[in-house]
């Protein structure tokens, strides 16, 4: 049976409720995951809840029909834009931290860093921004950026990680960056450019890391 993609009435309340629940779960997970064991193990409860809510959406045929994962000539151009954005962001970051602009080596940990970046984009730009888009694009871009920056900030509110970074400053910078990535996702109508931005950024910034920073595991 053909699925009518554009004329179905939108259940705004349902979407908001769902996104709110998932966001709450992810923020709670981020806050708890850096605590020492056994509190750390409680963080997997909200993560599981988020997975249970998001899961059914993965098999929604309309998601695949939406063009989110498709690549056309214009989307390839946006992918190149994403690539350049990721490189520019990483070089600026490395320069600010007095690191050589280009990494000398790539250690194994960088693969995990790239996977984490890709996962974040799938969750925040893919799922959250995608769900909120049907309410209003501005709500989607700002909402996803806020929740993503909140997730990052929550990682540094636990006692084990507090003091590592000035949280408000970190939140503000992250929010600004995620707004840009959200705009890229909106204009390209594709998840690939945001994934490329984040993957390339993490690839260049964490190239020389031989082990994960304390807040990762």
């Amino acid at each position: 049976m053909k699925l009518p993609a554009k004329k179905i009435p939108v259940n705004h309340y349902g979407i908001l409720r769902e996104v709110f629940l998932v966001s709450l779960c992810i923020l709670l997970f981020a806050w708890l995951v850096s605590w020492p064991v056994p509190v750390k193990w409680f963080s997997f409860l909200p993560l599981t809840c988020a997975g249970l809510i998001i899961g059914p959406r993965l098999f929604n045929t309309a998601l695949l029909r939406s063009g989110l994962f498709r690549l056309g000539p214009v989307k390839v151009l946006y992918c190149i834009t994403g690539l350049l954005m990721g490189i520019a962001g990483a070089l600026y970051y490395r320069g600010m931290y007095s690191m050589p602009l280009l990494p000398a080596w790539f250690h194994g940990f960088v693969l995990i860093a790239v996977c984490i970046g890709v996962m974040e984009e799938l969750v925040f730009r893919g799922y959250i921004q995608g769900r909120l888009q049907s309410i209003h694009p501005a709500v989607a871009i700002i909402g996803a950026a806020l929740i993503h920056a909140g997730y990052k900030a929550c990682l540094f509110l636990a006692p084990a990680t507090s003091g590592i970074t000035p949280v408000w400053l970190f939140f503000s910078w992250s929010f600004g960056a995620f707004l840009l990535i959200g705009l890229l996702r909106y204009f390209s109508n594709s998840i690939w450019p945001p994934i490329l931005v984040h993957a390339v950024f993490d690839l260049l910034v964490y190239a020389e890391n031989t082990e994960a920073p304390v807040w990762v595991w």
């Binding site: 179905i8 997975g51 989110l68 350049l84 600026y92 931290y97 602009l101 996962m119 997730y151 909106y186």
Partner: protein, 463 residues
Amino acid sequence: MKPDQIHPKQPGRTQSWLPYFLAGLFLLGILLIFRGFPDEKRFTVVQLKGNGLVTNWSKSFHFIFFPSSNREKGAILTEKNDVLGFNDTYFRYQPTKEDTLRINDEGDSLVFLNSKINSIVIHKNEDLLPWFRQMKPEQLTDLASILIQDPIPESYIPYLKTIASQHPHLSLTFAENDSLNLTTDYIRKAGFFQPTVVFVPVINEEIPALVYWKKAKCLFIVLDDSVILNPLPALPEMKECIVYGDDLKSMPPDFFINNLQLKKLSLLLNKPFYELLAPLDQLDELVLKNGDSVAGLDKLKNIPERLSVLLISGKCTGIEQLVKAKGLKWLGLPVNTSQKEFNMLTASLKKIQVLEMAGNSNLTDFTNLQEMPDLRALIIIDTVTDKKSIGQLKKLRYLSLPHDTKEDSAYLKEMAKALPGCIVVANSGACLGSGWLLLLLPLALLSGILFHKKTNTEHETTG
């Protein structure tokens, strides 16, 4: 629940120019970043594992040695081509993929670096012949130096020739030997190497003979005489010279007159012979040790203004003159620096990346260190007089504290918490999320598989 409308508010084709514009914008941004952050001198934190003491002879400050053991890593700051010393072994640092150098010099004749042979030690008590007979070229791929502690046995010569054909430019270190001049012995028997780094003790009469080392890029000389009259011969390849002397009474002002091309110079002496520096107008790095004498920095004139590295060990007058050295990235402060001079220097020298200092009773407030935007490494010897301020330096990547502070485990824990990522330079940044988020994918897939039938049924019903 009704199914949701999928992306109803997508931008139309009118923005087709946008990706070109954005791509151009970010490309321009990348070019600007390369212009804004030129490839400057960068220090590296190298961790060493092995039983012994390690130091960076090219950037020696108060002769600090950093202990390391097989259990606990020692960490030093270095730059490419700096001369590192580990116990009796010297080698030039070349960046490697690994950030830890594992040194093993527990054998009598071979020193291993990251499990590969780095140095061969020629010593009368150790017969190298059995090893020479079975040595293979692939074992020597990382060979960097030969340490000569006793006269070279004639039987070693064919094997050393073989090594020289494979590694003609490795470093040579000659130990002090009261009964025989090892350098003369080497030149007579085995002068087929063209070493780039030479460590050699000399007396005044032997200085002209140093011309033999014409391929040396770095010369480390130990002056055994108290009166030096001869200048160094012309060594056109030499870019770095380290001079050590602990009983010098006089040196000729034209000691370096034949080597004006020098870029890096370390004068590790018992007195300040600053007049030697006058003709050297290409210096970029300068390390000075004055022993117990008080040196007048006014004699340096405008030299500090051209330097990127200046380390001064000992007491000095005229410290305030260093405010003019705006290009300094690595600074070691004289031991008698006052609080006023410290505040003045930290406020003026904004490019400093590495600061070395000796805590003293006149210097008790490090608050001004926060005003140094590029400060990434801090080495404090003697006494830490302001522990609180150090914890505020969130951008620090390397911190070295005096040994007695290291016994204060509570303070160390406090520092470790306040300065995460410190010591290892690559462990910076907080922009990476939690790795456990990756679990979300299998969880969501599992949940999707479990519930997808229900969702599809919903769609079909509504459609």
